[in-house]
Symmetry: C2
């Protein structure tokens, strides 16, 4: 670490939630830039991938719980990051209903701890505060596409935590002069995502059907709902562009701008696999308060920093299926 | 406690932040109702007044920190309140700038702990969630008077915590079926308020001038700002009416509907005391981000439950001055 602190032109990224789905894709993105970059990853879980894969990065890892200041606060001083990419979160809406206190603490309090440390010892460091389309919550079809000016109406403990994080970010920018760029990131998809997320679970199931491991029947919730899916590799490119070119104190939607039904996602993956499946609704999987449609506007991020998704939906779905195929063979 | 649990018609109030300014006035209000009421007060500080003063109440106290579940959670089961009046808070905006983590934890986390316990063991209990006009934050003069539909733009860590509390309340009502009434309470005044609050500090200073203990010069911040002051005794009456008649999941402004400059408050108190004072601005006391004017609309609470303030401003100011006189003599 120390040698990197002295080298000119090296950009230093501190990434929280390092071991997660988005963290690994963010690393892959930085790696292919082939620029002088140092990364310090922290995560409350153990490191679950090989850092050596990223050959163009100077990369290190520290296991630390952001709720335990002594485990990580010294790193803000020692590593002196240019950027903090705050990916650590309890991102499950379902979990937030089961354990609201833990969900709230591991989102809001964790973020506040990080803000306070950065403010006190390294206030010039730019922070990326990752929010969620869940912040919009209950919205009518007449409000689509959702812009950054749309009303927030969070309907889960998770969504409230994300709104709180965003409001705290604004206070730290306006009141303390911190440098924070905020996102509202829509539904991520991509290879490596846990099967607790809907598209990843559909892909895993469809592959099992293709391999003959299970009956060709998909038991689902309401698949007529419309969501705005964006490939995680496009998302991490947006994150890095926002760190470099976004405006402090501003919020940016990260989305495709296009709505797709869950049913259509299943149909497209079944077509790629060349299989026929029957879809059946399991009432236990239907969420009573689910929005009929969520679609974002990407006008602001596109106008300001020129970002738009590049990866076609078909490519995302093929890569997700390939990921599960590699796992089933391995 | 047990005998009260068996008696019919006794309404049981659990009051958090019991030892505070509002808590004592709430007790006085309940006492003069002369109805069968049992009160259990909890506070992280020691009891600082004599419970025997309230002759018509069955009143008990338990010292407990709401962040420490083992100190109080059993009380929700044992006392089985009909109403929880959640007055506990770190209500200083200034403190929230100095120690955002402690302020946030002692507002948001405390409230979430309370919600979770009530939800799990006593979900029929009605909770009064006290919010603040600070939630409105930065607003233009064209937005006055502020209604419950006005945009929230919180500008301090304290204000963000209050917005978070309100959003969590809505989620607990809509998602868990809890029974919560929310307020946005404007600037309280009244006898017994700490001199860290502006009107109370002015009154104390003016009395010292009258008594000849100090020069007749008031060093203040910007006294041209306009605020909506409401007597704490009117506030606690609103709280009890909302517990009995407010709609779950709804937010109610508690305000006078009238704006008064701080300068006018000083002038009125000086006139009551029959003294002449010189006002001087101390630039260190001018808050850079202070709103020029904050005035609320009380239409909703007035339409729905018929509440409006009853205590004239002149009475409030005389009682505040009498309070400080009694303290200076004592």
């Amino acid at each position: 670490m120390p040698e990197f602190n002295k080298r000119q032109g090296v950009k230093k990224y501190l990434i929280t939630g390092f071991s997660g789905f988005v963290g690994r894709h963010f690393l892959a993105y930085l790696d292919q830039l082939n620029e002088p970059v140092a990364v310090l990853g922290i995560d409350r879980g153990a490191l679950n991938f090989d850092l050596e894969v990223f050959r163009n990065l100077h990369c290190s890892f520290k296991k630390a719980d952001l709720l335990q200041g002594h485990e990580w606060e010294h790193l803000i001083e020692e590593f002196a990051p240019d950027y903090v990419v705050h990916l650590a979160s309890f991102s499950s809406v379902a979990f937030s209903w089961v354990n609201p206190i833990s969900s709230f603490a591991n989102n809001t309090n964790v973020f506040l701890n990080l803000l306070e440390k950065v403010r006190k010892v390294n206030p010039k460091c730019r922070i990326l505060s990752v929010g969620s389309s869940e912040e919009y919550g209950a919205c009518g079809l007449d409000q689509l596409p959702l812009t950054e000016e749309s009303t927030l109406n969070p309907v889960s403990p998770y969504a409230v935590a994300r709104v709180s994080q965003e409001l705290l970010s604004k206070v730290y920018v306006d009141g303390f002069g911190c440098d924070i760029v905020m996102t509202r990131s829509f539904n991520h998809i991509g290879p490596g995502q846990l099967d607790t997320f809907v598209i990843s679970s559909f892909a895993k199931k469809l592959l099992a059907i293709q391999l003959g491991n299970t009956e060709p029947v998909m038991l689902t919730g309401d698949t007529s709902i419309v969501r705005d899916f964006v490939d995680v590799r496009d998302v991490v490119r947006a994150y890095d562009h926002l760190l470099k070119h976004g405006r402090s104190g501003h919020i940016y939607n990260i989305c495709s701008g296009t709505g797709v039904t869950l049913k259509s996602m299943i149909d497209q993956m079944a077509a790629i696999l060349g299989i026929a499946v029957t879809q059946e609704i399991d009432p236990r999987l239907v969420r009573p308060n689910d929005n009929k449609a969520i679609i974002g506007s990407l006008k602001k991020i596109n106008d300001e920093i020129g970002w738009a998704p590049r990866i076609p939906l078909d490519t995302s779905l093929r890569d997700i299926l390939d990921y599960w195929r590699s796992k089933s063979v391995a």
